[in-house]
Symmetry: C3
Subunit: 301 residues, 3 copies
């Protein structure tokens, strides 16, 4: 069974989260979606990552259709959603461009939509999806407070926030932001370089990692960099008798002391099981740094 | 009448400031300068932005000549000045290169000069003009304290400071820095990108914006970027029935929640009136982001 | 006699430190090494900078061989060492790549090795040599605490840490980090640009400067930049009647208000004496900025 990670004293999530970004592409019936959700819960993956905009504003409802079939499962899971991005979409004809909206009005509307679509009375965690150059952090703080008091959202976090943005919003809140969901993978060290992971460690905040498998870039290995990293992953996979290089990529994140929560994006159960098994893999520091070095393209300084 | 912005509990400035950077170029008699000042006050622009070095060290005196003609106006305005840059100048033959000086001796000399030239007994606000790699923040703090106690300067701020520099100096002071005067415009997002505006929002500090009209780059529209932004400004101007794209550029700043104070640089009263009228313009988020996107050159992430 | 710099209330180091990075290359007998150490102490240079890895893991022992000849000198000096880097080396055949290790196990082993090699019962100062992307700051903090309680290390600092890394580790400690040893020279303004020196000033931490003479780049003057800076150094050397441009480079660091401690790297006593004499040189701000401008390659903004 998967470990859990405490984000606050009374809120924990599973060591791996399942993302439902591409749920609309999986082409499953409501009953099949429910079976997938139940399998996840059986594996110990109880944290389900959504956003208002996923699947062009459709994925939350697809999940909700399944949950409705067995509503008592709600208490066995943590539902995470996001808001703040407005997409150009047939479902939102009033949007002439893609833009951000972190106004009180939009956050509250978006949360209400998410609750309706997900067939739930509360979110366990709401994230601001992107840092908004027009954000009024006082207004966001007031909105979070109201949503908490109304019982609609229990915990709050951010996504893709730089340390300065995390500090700005945190400084206006009476409670801590519990996560920062950012891209981290063997192909993407950006959040190591810009201080984001360090800020998380300073604040004892566990980051969630999107695209933990590099969005497929490693498997295709079209660039010299991807090929170089892949070679190292293959070597370590062999040394550890692992099932796949995907496992090594998960293990690379799971072995980091920041308690990074990888978000599994696949809808195939055998892929998810592979990820769960990766939670058992221990990398030596030297192995971790072989991957780091292959990502850098040169030895450490 | 223009709104005011509280920088501290007992110090407010007008929603727009007037800059006197180019006062020497306006070629006005002392009486004409006085009339311009009186017109500004009538419009509600009471905050006048100076620096020791403007006009090759001459502008403060040109302003002072006018103020002397009607000294009782002093109490109706806020005088802002700056120090810390040393120019190569016939008026400062001892300077062999352009450099910075934030020593106690130089700050105090420069303030005394500003007071003499402006014909005033105090500055409402003194800014360190540029971050100085040779700054001793303890010495600057001690100097600020002394100037405050002597009644020569009532409030202090900085200009063109990065967050790290703002924090360094703030940490040595017993009172808050009340502003950071930086370049912000539809052509210049630097202070969005480097955390400066976020640091202001975190600290509840209203930034002042220099070159709010891009230093004329938009009007000339010589670059592809400038032309692209200008097209969007023209479109929004039309949608809002505004008088000019300058108004849209001011409104873009004034609609930001950080309470950005644009510094009007023109010496022509009809231009200033245009700016004042811009304070009434409300942009939708979508309009604000159309300008943001045109400045980025691509949709938001 | 050289000044001292207080790093904490009860811990001071000399205004210049001596580095033993290249001790293995100096080709000295133990007795000659001892004589060099005694000469340094006579000059007031009492702070000796080591690292586990210097000379491919050999320099600490070479120093210890000399100290053993006159063990009573231990109380007249401050011994600084570092850990956290693992080199590919015949002396560490288990290292397949160069990597970092800031685990409790490695830090403690490395300190024990340093104590044995240096023939001492305590280090005055231990530095983490490089920021480690796999660092667990809580584990490092726990390790520092234990080493302090055991009396093996009296003070702690870091090397080559960015502000975010400095803050991360500091936040976990009950005592302050006393220095950040970074590269600073007339050829290298990186730590001015990235906020590191400002963070030191904010925290009243004196940085130590490695490669204060640019690692020889100025003397060779192979690049246009190096030649440009060298010309300015020569000019100022002449104006001040100094002995060498090396002295001007030291003075440029010593005149900075952050109380930068240059680390002298030469094993030749006349070079060290030159450095000590540089501590008497006062640069004007204008001279300091002539060097700064030559390093920038353009006037200040």
């Amino acid at each position: 069974m998967l470990d859990r990670v405490q984000l606050t004293e009374d809120f924990s999530i599973s060591r791996l989260a399942q993302g439902f970004w591409r749920l609309a592409d999986w082409d499953l019936s409501p009953q099949e979606r429910l079976e997938f959700i139940e399998s996840l819960l059986d594996l110990g993956i109880t944290t389900f990552d959504h956003a208002d905009i996923y699947g062009d504003y459709t994925c939350e409802n697809l999940f909700g259709e399944a949950l409705e079939l067995k509503a008592e499962l709600r208490e066995e899971m943590e539902l995470v959603s996001k808001c703040g991005i407005k997409l150009i979409s047939e479902n939102r004809p009033e949007h002439e461009i893609k833009y951000y909206d972190t106004s009180k009005e939009h956050i509250i509307n978006s949360v209400n939509n998410s609750l309706n679509n997900l067939r739930t009375e509360y979110l366990d965690l709401l994230l601001i999806h992107r840092p908004d150059p027009l954000m009024d952090p006082d207004e966001v703080a007031e909105t979070f407070k109201q949503l908490k008091e109304e019982g609609k959202v229990r915990n709050f976090g951010v996504s893709n926030f730089l340390p300065s943005q995390f500090e700005m919003l945190s400084s206006k809140l009476d409670f801590p932001l519990v996560t920062n969901q950012v891209e981290i993978s063997v192909m993407n060290f950006e959040n190591f370089d810009n201080g984001t992971i360090e800020k998380c460690q300073e604040k004892d905040v566990s980051p969630m990692a999107w695209s933990p498998l590099t969005g497929g870039k490693i498997f295709k290995a079209k660039s010299e960099k991807a090929q170089r990293i892949k070679n190292v992953l293959e070597e370590i996979k062999k040394d550890l008798n692992a099932d796949s290089i995907a496992q090594i990529m998960y293990a690379w994140l799971l072995n980091h002391p920041a308690q990074i929560i990888p978000i599994v994006g696949s809808g195939k159960l055998y892929r998810v099981k592979e990820a769960v098994a990766a939670a058992e893999i221990e990398l030596t520091r030297q192995q971790w740094f072989k991957i780091w070095q292959s990502g850098l393209g040169h030895p450490v300084a």
